[in-house]
């Protein structure tokens, strides 16, 4: 009897193992925490004859269960940890492991080798357009500059997973063309490379995509100084008061490692984190800065206090698509639903802002400025000009599937007594949209 009891216990144990995850799906307990991911989890389709007989309901339900079943983060971590520890494989989109464990995003490697090269004529044309905008803004007492962000492949070519013959690259030709056509710019790569061996601190983290936080602060200071020199403005300057080592990476310095979803987040060698302050007065005239940039801008926008300490107002247009203002109120303005650049009075922005900064990494040079130069020139020519809507399919997908967006839009739809789809259309296409 006792033997039979032990066997039943063993059988019961295995039954609990396969039953617990589905139970956890429906209770407010998450033993395994969350996974780190930027893309969307799947949503359920409504159950009806069409979705059932087409098989769409079943496939989305399966995907949904896979992503939302209890203990899902634990399963991911077990798999990812084994694969990373035993084989060095990573399961984050686009990430590859280089030598000595250095992690890269594939697009940066591709860009470094020139696989996304757009061609000289395109580069010349884009640069000319940017120069035209620069001159036009200068005639109105405004200032435009471009920041060619550093690239990890350029900074750490020695750790890249493989080498191959390098073709012409966008970065190489834009660098030359900017100088040739007189575009205001700072080119971070040569400057970082010059400091690489002498500085003693990493300007590019081992497991990060972007420049280190310290590097970002140096770049911020350089941008302001370059702007001062170009405009004659007397802007406050960043003064680093102390440098602190941290064995645990902070800010965005470990973003790739963070996304690996391992049990123990791998840490780089100790990184430097500066204490700093902005010194000097902002001046009588309030100066406003508009930054159009990619993810290299986040550390500058969120952590340099450039809006508090240097300019009177800073607005950041992420990929010239979503609008980000004050860091403290970020996200709360519209319950997590971002304002899109298409919702703004672009002409008014161009009139009100004094300085325009474009920040772009090497891969994003192939989408040069995300159409900002063309749109700005057009709006200055014709105040009624409406920029072409971009990424609508992606934004619609976000609106339907990203939790915060969907909730905010559902709430707004209820207030207007319309369907969610109609509300999404308003959000995407109505130039007069307000929350």
């Amino acid at each position: 009897m006792r033997k039979e009891g032990i066997k039943r216990w063993i059988l019961g144990f295995f039954m609990v193992i396969i039953t617990y995850p589905i139970i956890e799906t429906f209770i407010p307990v998450r033993l395994a925490g969350q996974v780190n991911r930027a893309d969307l989890t799947s949503n359920l389709l409504p159950f009806n004859a069409e979705t059932w007989f087409s098989g769409d309901f079943q496939s989305t339900f399966e995907r949904y269960m896979n992503d939302n079943i209890g203990l899902f983060p634990l399963f991911i971590r077990i798999h990812n940890q084994i694969e990373y520890t035993l084989f060095g494989n990573t399961y984050t989109g686009n990430v590859v492991e280089g030598k000595e464990g250095y992690l890269y995003e594939q697009i940066y490697i591709d860009s470094y080798f020139g696989e996304d090269f757009k061609g000289l004529s395109v580069i010349e044309k884009n640069t000319a357009q940017l120069k035209e905008l620069q001159d036009k803004l200068e005639s109105k007492g405004k200032y435009l500059m471009f920041c060619l962000a550093a690239g990890k492949s350029t900074y750490f070519p020695e750790y890249m997973p493989y080498s191959q013959e390098k073709d012409s690259t966008n970065y190489e030709y834009y660098s030359k063309e900017f100088v040739k056509q007189g575009v205001n710019h700072i080119n971070v790569n040569p400057w970082f490379l010059k400091m690489k061996d002498s500085l003693g601190y990493l300007l590019y983290p081992q497991y990060g995509i972007h420049w280190s936080h310290y590097g970002a602060m140096l770049v911020t200071d350089s941008i302001v100084k370059y702007m001062e020199k170009g405009t004659g403005w007397d802007l406050p300057n960043m003064a680093i008061t102390q440098l602190n080592y941290s064995p645990v990476a902070r800010y965005y310095d470990n973003d790739i490692a963070h996304s690996l979803n391992l049990f123990y987040e791998v840490q780089p060698e100790p990184m430097i984190y500066p204490d700093f302050e902005w010194r000097g007065e902002k001046g009588d005239k309030p100066r406003k800065l508009l930054i159009i940039g990619d993810s290299f801008t986040w550390d500058i926008f969120e952590n340099s206090r450039i809006g508090e300490g240097c300019f009177h107002d800073v607005q950041f247009w992420f990929y010239n698509q979503t609008v980000h203002r004050d860091v403290k109120t970020e996200g709360s303005e519209n319950n997590g639903l971002p304002t899109l650049t298409r919702h703004l009075d672009f002409y008014k922005i161009m009139q009100e802002y004094d300085a325009f900064l474009i920040v772009s990494n090497e891969p994003n040079l192939s989408s040069f400025g995300w159409g900002f130069a063309k749109d700005a020139l057009s709006i200055l020519e014709d105040p009624n000009y409406r920029p072409r809507e971009r990424n609508n399919e992606y934004l619609r997908d976000q609106a339907k599937n990203k939790k915060e967006w969907r909730e905010a839009l559902t709430h707004q739809a209820k207030e207007r007594d319309i369907t969610l789809d109609s509300m999404i259309n308003i959000y995407l296409h109505d130039p007069n949209y307000t929350p």
């Binding site: 033997k3 039979e4 032990i6 066997k7 039943r8 063993i10 059988l11 144990f13 295995f14 039954m15 193992i17 396969i18 039953t19 995850p21 589905i22 996974v35 780190n36 991911r37 930027a38 893309d39 059932w52 007989f53 098989g55 079943q58 339900f61 399966e62 269960m65 896979n66 992503d67 079943i69 899902f72 634990l74 399963f75 991911i76 077990i78 798999h79 990812n80 084994i82 035993l86 084989f87 060095g88 494989n89 399961y91 984050t92 989109g93 686009n94 990430v95 995509i209 973003d255 790739i256 996304s259 993810s295 992420f318 990929y319 698509q321 995300w370 971009r390 990424n391 992606y394 976000q398």
Partner: protein
């Protein structure tokens, strides 16, 4: 729904097992049938009702056939039942293939091609059709009386553990268990079923799937790979298909045991075979048994007047076996390839092998099987020929080895090869018997449970993580 999905493992299976084992014994067939219907309907909502109508029709035809006293009427009803089963299979599985080939001929002759809307293939049709045929024939040959209740018959055909990918379970081997399997409702039976299921799951998820990714890469170059890559690819494929199919069979057998059924073994270390004759006693055993009992023996089997008639019977069986696997000339050639070697072995080769060392026999058999797998895996005949050309240096494939696999691939391939050939050693055979055929003691259950637990968690983790490859940042 597939076994190797989170939906099946962590939603359907626990709910079903709880419902099944909590139900009164007399109602368990109904519970199993409902579960099986849901399982099938989930994956094939369009074909579900057609299938039910066909099965119900077949049930009553076979019942009438059994009760009829007139031999001519019995035979006529047999023909009707077989025609329905084979007709359905022919239509859904081979109509597209037939029309494609007719249109190719028409094109050569300069004629207008036939207009045809492609037919979709219901999942599991090859398996449940064959099971339905065994039901009809076993009743006709009076090997067993038909089932009394329609839902028992539906359960036999649609029982979800073996519905999609076998094993092919002949009616007379399971008929009694459908009616009464109380004696199998023991904790030992359930636990051993669970353990076999977990081993099958691990075979599929931790070995076959891991190797399969690189096999797809190698075969994704339309046969244009270097010699080394082509050999690595086909060896890897041989492991992938074995662990995939054997894994699925183990899962079916294990699930069957958890429900009180005793399904037959389907794979028995086939790559340790020393002849193709032996290979077909170890590979997809239930298909071989079906073909032998329901095709080869009715054709006369070995009891015919001439050797040439035996060879003819063998070739017919293997051509049809090949075609059963898929509607493509590649599969027919694969079947013919095996059939030819079976004939050669029967004619003289097995006699020669009596004086040949065992490792030579082993190498010969594995080599023949490998070549056959090229036809089985390649998408088209030209691709298969190109691939074979690269294997033997006739072509110079462009895609080099360095472009291809990663270390993890070799790791899993090594594990696969190890386990595929382990029973060549006595210790390996002992191990196999221990894990599959032993009634464990309580102490053994306690020692083994952690291992099965780890395998289960690893398998679930790999399933859950498949396709999980998120981006770090949004990118417009």
């Amino acid at each position: 729904m597939v076994f190797t999905s989170i939906l099946f493992l962590l939603v359907f299976l626990p709910v079903f097992l709880l419902a099944y084992h909590l139900a009164p014994v007399s109602k368990r067939n109904i519970v199993a049938l409902v579960g099986s219907l849901i399982f099938y309907m989930w994956g094939a909502p369009m074909f579900f009702w057609l299938l039910i109508v066909l099965l119900v029709g077949n049930f009553y035809i076979v019942r009438s056939m059994d009760t009829s006293l007139q031999p001519k009427l019995r035979k006529a009803l047999l023909v009707v039942s077989l025609s329905i089963n084979l007709g359905v299979l022919a239509y859904f599985k081979y109509a597209n293939f037939f029309v494609e080939n007719v249109n190719s001929i028409f094109k050569e002759l300069g004629l207008q091609p036939m207009q045809w809307m492609e037919v979709a293939l219901p999942i599991g049709i090859s398996f449940f059709t064959f099971q339905s045929i065994t039901y009809t024939l076993d009743v006709y040959w009076k090997k067993h009386s038909p089932l009394d209740r329609i839902w028992d018959y539906l359960l036999y055909i649609l029982l979800f553990p073996q519905l999609i990918a076998g094993p092919i379970i002949r009616f007379n081997t399971i008929a009694d268990e459908i009616k009464d399997r109380k004696q199998n409702y023991t904790t030992d039976y359930k636990l051993s079923g669970l353990y076999i299921f977990i081993i099958g799951l691990a075979k599929k998820v931790l070995i076959a799937n891991q190797i399969g990714e690189q096999v797809d890469v190698i075969f994704g170059h339309d046969g244009d790979v270097s010699r080394y890559a082509s050999w690595v690819g086909i060896v890897a494929y041989s492991m992938q298909i074995y662990f995939d199919f054997a894994g699925y069979s183990d899962m079916a057998i294990g699930l069957g045991k958890m429900l009180g059924f005793n399904f037959p073994e389907n794979f028995k270390s086939p790559y340790t075979s020393k002849s193709i004759t032996e290979f077909w006693r170890r590979w997809h055993i239930t298909l071989g048994a079906f073909m032998r009992d329901y095709l080869y023996l009715p054709l006369g089997g070995n009891r015919v007047n001439s050797a040439s008639r035996i060879y003819f019977n063998l070739i017919v069986v293997f051509l049809l076996s090949g075609l059963w696997h898929g509607a493509s000339w590649n599969f027919v050639i694969w079947g013919a390839w095996h059939g030819v070697f079976l004939i050669i072995e029967r004619a003289f080769l097995l006699r020669w092998f009596k004086v040949v060392p065992k490792f030579v026999q082993l190498a010969y058999c594995y080599f023949v099987v490998l070549i056959g797998w090229v036809f089985f895996r390649a998408d088209t005949l030209p691709e298969a020929m190109r691939y074979l050309g690269n294997m033997f240096g006739v072509n110079q494939g462009l895609v080099q080895f360095a472009d291809l696999p990663e270390f993890s691939f070799y790791f899993f391939l090594a594990i696969a090869i190890f386990f595929a050939f382990i029973t060549l050693a006595r210790a390996g055979k002992t191990l196999e018997n221990f894990f599959f055929n032993t009634k464990f003691t309580v102490k053994q259950y306690m020692y083994l449970s952690p291992m099965y637990f780890v395998l289960l968690i690893l398998s679930i983790s790999y399933i859950g993580a498949s396709g999980f490859n998120p981006f770090i940042y949004f990118r417009f």
